[in-house]
């Protein structure tokens, strides 16, 4: 799997999905091209999916928000007969490396979270209209929708057959959403997750696996009726005009470095690290929502978010040996804050809201990136407001203290803004500041009176906003030693340690998915009972069952 996976796509390139826009309702049709797999060696039968299918879905969800704010209800459905979606393609999973499986699951999880949150964040409600079998990852797609309708034709069912069939877990949120979101009682969930064929008809409603079963002959009609009802109940403004998400500007250098218009990814392969440098805005913030709308995809904070998002995804999937990501910024913090303030002041304008919500997702994507993350707060940098969040997302941060010899850039500062107190919550619903201070909101609140004040290194260190403030004498050596040490540790231990320390305090469904469920799934993905030559996942399709080592670990 050496080819570069590209996360950029657009409707003209979709092979697996189509969207029919019908005013306030969009019909999202999954019709996977069997021959359109991202890699060789498997066919995407029965609407099964691989990463390529999910990249399209993620693109659709993103465009639904930015390009089609007029849409209030999205109906996810199948374009195939008798099957809604059979889930992740098993042969693809069987043939994929462990790292690819993990990255695949992470991305699909993020995509599920994104459309699940679309109702709350953007007023776009997703309905799953299930006809035919809806199994495994297929049901997980439906579970992430806000409402599930199932036809009552006495054969369509919802199922999580992973355990009995493949000896793995329904790892794309399945186990967690069944209990935490759908409120299926845990013993019934135990039954449900052990039965290959799943549950159909009224029992699916009784067990809360779906919201509604509908007579088959009235299914299409009832689904559209329900969609109209939800659209009518929606409090989302009517008739918003979207913007076009034009292609991002991006080029790859021979050594793998990537240049975007506002983001540079420099690669030092020997050292096992990538340095991501984000440029601050040069132009002033738009002075009105009309001006923001006119800028569209070129609006600074949207453009930089899209580029940073793509860079993170690219590094995750395509540059797996770069274990350390270094975040830098360069630019005018005041200008950056003005751009952010414009959005915060106009958060009731749909596009401003969407850009802020997108930043929430991009920052979460950084939280969830299993690399060692470090931020360097150098002179001339702009870690202010939204960019300051990066400091509290990463594992450590180093800040330049006082003037450096021969460096005439403005002194390094960190500036808090209103947004640091809740605009970009992490997966467990705490602000990064609260998370940083032992999940103690009151502790974070103490920093409120420092909002807007450019804090130099000494203050920033004292307030706990950075890890170390280093002067000209120590900077180079300390940073070098840290990076070299970090690069020498076991990547597995790093991933485990970082994932544990990054999240402090309470759990939410989201963190249970990324923490508990994913960790167990990734453990199972390493175990011979699933992936060994005689494991169930490897043997799937051969007719032979997994040969299990029955020892409980």
């Amino acid at each position: 799997m050496s080819k570069r996976i590209d996360f950029q796509t657009d409707p003209s390139r979709y092979r697996h999905w189509r969207v029919e826009y019908d005013g306030e309702v969009a019909n999202l049709v999954m019709d996977v091209d069997e021959k359109g797999g991202l890699f060789d060696g498997y066919e995407l039968k029965l609407n099964s999916y691989d990463l390529g299918v999910d990249i399209e879905l993620a693109d659709i969800v993103q465009r639904m928000r930015f390009e089609h704010p007029e849409v209030k209800v999205v109906v996810m459905q199948s374009g195939k007969d008798r099957v809604f979606c059979a889930g992740a393609n098993i042969r693809m999973l069987g043939g994929a490396s462990h790292a690819h499986k993990v990255n695949f699951c992470k991305f699909t999880n993020e995509t599920r979270n994104t459309f699940e949150a679309a109702e709350e964040d953007s007023g776009q409600k997703y309905i799953a209209a299930v006809q035919g079998s809806c199994a495994g990852g297929g049901y997980e797609l439906a579970l992430a929708c806000n409402y599930i309708m199932l036809t009552n034709d006495s054969s369509s069912s919802v199922a999580l057959p992973e355990v009995p069939l493949l000896a793995v877990l329904p790892g794309t949120g399945g186990l967690t959403r069944v209990t935490d979101k759908r409120k299926v009682r845990r013993d019934l969930a135990d039954v449900f997750c052990s039965v290959e064929e799943g549950v159909r008809g009224q029992r699916a409603v009784d067990w809360k696996l779906v919201d509604e079963v509908v007579p088959n002959s009235k299914f299409a009609e009832t689904v559209q009726e329900r969609a109209r009802e939800f659209a009518a109940q929606s409090t989302k403004a009517t008739g918003d005009k979207g913007i076009e998400l034009t292609p991002i500007s991006r080029s790859f250098a021979e050594d793998g470095s990537v240049s975007y218009s506002l983001v540079e990814v420099a690669i030092e392969r020997e050292a096992g690290r990538a340095t991501i440098t984000i440029k601050g805005p040069e132009e002033d913030a738009p002075d009105s929502t009309d001006a923001l709308h006119a800028q569209g995809a070129d609006a600074y904070l949207l453009r930089v978010a899209r580029e940073l998002d793509d860079a993170i995804l690219h590094l995750r999937l395509n540059e797996r040996e770069l274990g350390l990501l270094v975040f830098r910024t360069q630019g005018d913090p005041e200008k950056l804050l003005a751009h952010e303030k414009m959005l915060l002041d106009n958060a009731d304008f749909w596009l401003a809201n969407e850009i802020l919500k997108y930043w929430k997702r991009v920052l979460k994507r950084i939280d969830m990136t299993s690399r060692s993350l470090v931020a360097l707060v150098e002179h001339g940098s702009c870690f202010a407001g939204v960019f300051a969040e990066i400091l509290w997302s990463v594992d450590r941060s180093y800040m330049m203290l006082e003037e450096f010899d021969g460096d005439n850039r403005p002194l390094a500062t960190v500036t808090l803004s209103e947004s640091n107190f809740g605009t970009y919550p992490m997966g467990h619903d705490l602000s990064r500041l609260a998370n940083r201070f032992w999940a103690d909101g009151a502790e974070a609140e103490k920093l409120r009176d420092r909002i807007g004040e450019p804090l130099e290194a000494e203050d920033a260190e004292k307030l706990g906003l950075i890890t170390y403030a280093l002067d000209d004498i120590d900077w180079e050596d300390e940073v070098r030693v840290f990076m070299e040490e970090r690069a020498s540790f076991s990547p597995d231990a790093m991933t485990g340690m970082e994932a544990n320390l990054r999240f402090v305090g309470p759990e939410t469904m989201e963190t249970r998915i990324f923490g508990r469920l994913t960790a167990w799934q990734n453990w199972i993905f390493q175990r011979p009972n699933a992936v060994g030559p005689d494991g169930a996942l490897q043997r799937y399709g051969t007719g032979q069952r997994g040969d299990f080592n029955m020892e409980r670990v």
């Binding site: 009552n152 034709d153 006495s154 054969s155 009995p164 039965v195 290959e196 064929e197 007579p215 088959n216 002959s217 799937y540 399709g541 051969t542 007719g543 032979q544 069952r545």
Partner: protein
Amino acid sequence: MLDLINVSYDTQIPNNVGLSQDKKVLKALEKWHPGYINWWNDLIPQNFQESLVYLRTAVSVDPKGWAKFDYVKMPEYRWGVLLAPQVEGRTIPCGEHYGEPAWQEVPGEYRNMLKRLIVIQGDTEPASVEQQRMLALTAPSLYDMRNLFQVNVEEGRHLWAMVYLLHKYFGRDGREEADDLLRRSSGSEEAPRMLGAFNEETPDWLSFFMFTYFTDRDGKMQLESLAQSGFDPLSRTCRFMLTEEAHHMFVGETGVGRTIERTCQVMKENGIDDPYDTAKIRDLGVIDLPLIQKKLNLHYTLSLDLFGQEVSTNAANAFNAGIKGRYMEARIKDDHQLKADTYTVWDFEDGKAVQKEVPALTAINMRLRDDYTKDAAGGVKRWNKIIEKFGIDFEMALPHESFNRKIGVFADRHFNPEGQMVTGAEYDKGLPEWLPTNADGDFIASLMKPCYEAGQYAGWIAPPKVGIDNKPGDFEYVKLHMA
């Protein structure tokens, strides 16, 4: 002491499984029974329900003399639960449990797989009755009508057989599945039958004969492989069902044969030698041989689709689990586990159909389909003998397996009946020569006039050589109830 050969009539449900001593299952079946009777009563037009039909009813599972013939009203037919006798010391004939004693109870690990197989098999049984429900209105003779009803009541009994297994071995899930077998209905928009081919109407008698010859033969092959099941009750059930299924294939083969015979006879009588002189032949009220070939093409290829994908995980799982074997498993000389064997299947490479070797375990469907094709070829040969006897230059043939397929590697590609890949335009051009057109259907429909006189036959079909139960030619197989 239970008598497991002769059928016990001491409960409402005839059986040889000791139902009267198995109160739990008896109760479940008795609860299911009214729904079944309602289904039957709503299905078959009323005047036929009241008619006396000369039917055979199973009275024993002894291969010699297992049935007796008598007049009966269909709703009063004694549908029962009949299993072939238990074979002492039977072992699991295939898969990873090969050689272990056959299961008398459902093995927990395979419960769902078994249940699914039984439900799919069970779903086809009532489906065909539903597909054929209107045919009696256009029966070409009382003899044929009787055969239709015999097939229908036996398909009904096969449903019973599957429902018994569901009730007896699958607890509450099984009872719910049994109820759903009556809830689904062929061609229904609300709850269609599980397999596509069983949702198409059987519009005329030639279709019925083709269906019983080709599609029931798929059923036979499925039953043959389930008869090899390591789950003994399923095996015994299917073995007895096969006894009945043979008659259905007989109805199909002789039905098509008699249609061919009549066409040849009328051609000869009218001095027509050219089988393609179809306008003239049709004017004489018989079905031209090229059209019969087209019907054959259609039904054979639809039936091939019922075998599923050439390479199938489900089939492999079922074989390896020992719950579904191959055709004549016991006679195959290999390890019965297919650990290292391969089998040849079709696949596509660079746009060309190629044959390649795959692990035999994954090609169980393909193998069964190949066995099916061999089995189906026999009747075609005998039909050709009839044509030959009349000295007409025409030969029926099974089309290539790539033609007109909706499932498997050939699906959605264009092949002619000889198996050559053709362009879309060539395909469209050839289609009226290869598959029945609407006009062909209309023509056949125009011949479908009832002939209810004892010993009389519609003009498009020859009388049978021998009567059922050796009855004479003018025997009144159905005493029609004329309301």
